[in-house]
């Protein structure tokens, strides 16, 4: 009897293993398809999507070269702008929202409550609500370059970050900060030498959420940036694929491959933090 139920359990486990493995393969297939098609000539992408490149369809690195120079807009510029915008926005958000959140959590004046309420409120406002007016405002204030757009990201993305930071600060016993005060720290020193190091786990979580958001964001930079001058990677890909007339699918796939390689490398290198950060953001958001 006992033997039976145990072997039954083992059998279910084996079946589950197989099912999971199959799903796993299905999950990876789309990415593999991108890889194989990025080496094929355009016409073969459509007709033989799932076939490995053969002598006939092989296009070598042509697709990559074409993709990177498409529309007289070099791809490396998009990469550069994407990196600049992502890094600058994330850094800006982390520093300023953590400062604001600490102040809000500890001082808790009327003004703080208003700001906090607005932050929570902004989390439920979809981008379409403000996209038109935001892009006009950003234009007027010259926030339409990769070097100034982080201000827009700080403004529109402050909500979630402040919400998460305030939640964490409130869980820190205030006596640690009081200790610092008695040891001789003023508020600024208390924040940067005591509070900020303690915020590290939340800094990582928020940082990852912001990186993922900004790196993949399409509409905001598309509407805000001066598009002839500055294109991020998603915008570049949209231009390549979305332009009417003949679309070179091979070249598109080559660019897509180039754009997801850093994402996957980033993911595999700090997977634990990413999953934790995303879960934290979801539960709170």
């Amino acid at each position: 009897m006992k033997q039976n139920s145990l072997s039954g359990e083992r059998r279910t486990k084996v079946i589950l293993q197989i099912v999971l493995a199959v799903i796993c393969v299905i999950y990876i297939l789309p990415v593999l398809t991108v890889v194989i098609n990025s080496f094929k000539q355009n016409t073969y992408v459509k007709s033989e999507t799932f076939a490995l490149p053969n002598e006939e369809s092989w296009n070598g690195l042509e697709n990559f070269i074409k993709g990177m120079t498409f529309g007289n807009y070099p791809f490396w510029k998009s990469v550069l702008y994407s990196v600049v915008i992502t890094v600058a926005s994330t850094a800006l958000i982390l520093v300023f929202t953590s400062m604001a959140a600490w102040y809000i959590a500890r001082v808790n004046s009327f003004f703080c409550k208003v700001i906090y309420f607005l932050c929570v409120f902004s989390m439920v406002v979809p981008f379409q609500m403000v996209m038109f007016t935001l892009s006009k405002t950003a234009d007027k204030l010259h926030l339409n370059t990769p070097w100034s757009i982080p201000v827009v990201y700080l403004g529109f993305g402050a909500g979630l970050a402040i919400f998460m930071f305030v939640g964490f600060v409130k869980s820190i016993p205030i006596s640690i900060e009081e200790s610092a005060a008695m040891d001789g720290c003023g508020p600024v020193r208390t924040f940067f030498r005591i509070v900020l190091p303690m915020l590290k786990p939340t800094l990582i979580s928020v940082g990852i959420l912001e990186i993922m958001w900004v790196w993949n964001d399409y509409l905001l930079p598309y509407l805000v940036l001066d598009i002839n001058e500055y294109r991020t990677i998603p915008i570049h890909i949209q231009y390549l694929k979305g332009s009417y007339g003949t679309v070179d699918l091979g070249a598109t796939m080559a660019l897509i491959l180039l754009s997801i390689i850093p994402v996957i490398v980033f993911y595999l290198s700090c997977q634990k933090h990413i999953i934790k950060g995303v879960a934290a953001g979801a539960v709170k958001g």
């Binding site: 016993p173 006596s175 640690i176 009081e178 200790s179 005060a181 008695m182 020193r189 303690m198 590290k200």
Partner: protein, 390 residues
Amino acid sequence: MAEVILKNIKKVYPYVSGEKKKRKKGGEPEKKTNLQITDEGVVAVQKFSLDIADKEFIVLVGPSGCGKSTTLRMVAGLEEISDGELYIDGKLVNDVAPKDRDIAMVFQNYALYPHMTVYDNMAFSLKLKHMPKAEIDRKVREAAEILDITQYLDRKPKALSGGQRQRVAIGRAIVRAPKVMLMDEPLSNLDAKLRNQMRAEIIKLREHINTTFIYVTHDQTEAMTLGDRIVIMRDGYIQQIGTPQEVFNHPANLFVAGFIGMPVMNLFDAKLIREGQHYFVELDGHRVHLSEEKCARLAAKNVESQDVTLGVRPEHIDLAEDGVSARIDVSEMMGSSVHLHLSAGDRDMIVIVPTVDMQGLPHMGDTVCFSFKGNVAHVFSKEDDKNLEF
């Protein structure tokens, strides 16, 4: 080294906006304490006056919500003083920031900086004062030596046990050689065994550091063992200030009588009878002559015969051939003594009987007689619960 003088200190927590309304609307809010509520807000501490001598060890003790921690935090500068004056070393410090008061504080939850090593935790305040590195090192190691934490200096607080963390917290305070050392329930997060051990260490610590201590606790044992003087508080008011001996032997009122001493003092409804310069208490027809000392005090205050609450500590009650009779409800063998829970009339009481004097253990349901001596009977007014001797 400094004396601390608190003059008529008061603390009012103003209403947070909207709270006042809730109070009226939401019916009776849970009433945890009997703090006075005024138009300004909740009064947490009032009429607190105390002169603390240099190097004195003062313990503030009382149940939760009595205002003891608030008082300590006002001395620390972490709370505003609503009214009154606070002097440290002769200087009025009401408006002085905590860091400039030259005080150190040990918190209940240790409040160590989690991202710093033990060494850095202890050195932090000295670094902020731009003390030379060599001197910092010397002071930190000296303090670590005293507290026996030298081997943990490179660790982070997370890697330490509760007792070790508390040592670090104390170490962090003593490296600064503060004028006043404040301790806010430093032992209450420790388990019973460690607490006893640390209590002994704090007593020893006083030999190493010459400073004034203000120590807050809700535990009367800590108060009795540590304090040069004890301040017993309740609902924001001081109930009594005195040495451990004084508050034990001469509790100022029923609250102090009940708070100090374990198990708690037995209370009876009794009669105080005056015959000239002599006083008696009468309990169930059993009459006890009060001691000369007590009689003199009562006479000096011209106390008349009246109904009183009589208090006698369990250890001061003797089982006797003759006296008030009572029934044994429960008998607890504690080793060196037996705690007998008796019911006399409609009053429950406890008697501690040393086992040395006993022939055979008393049984549940047995009837015994008890008596007490005139020098251990405390008489409290029925009207205001005050000790009639005061």
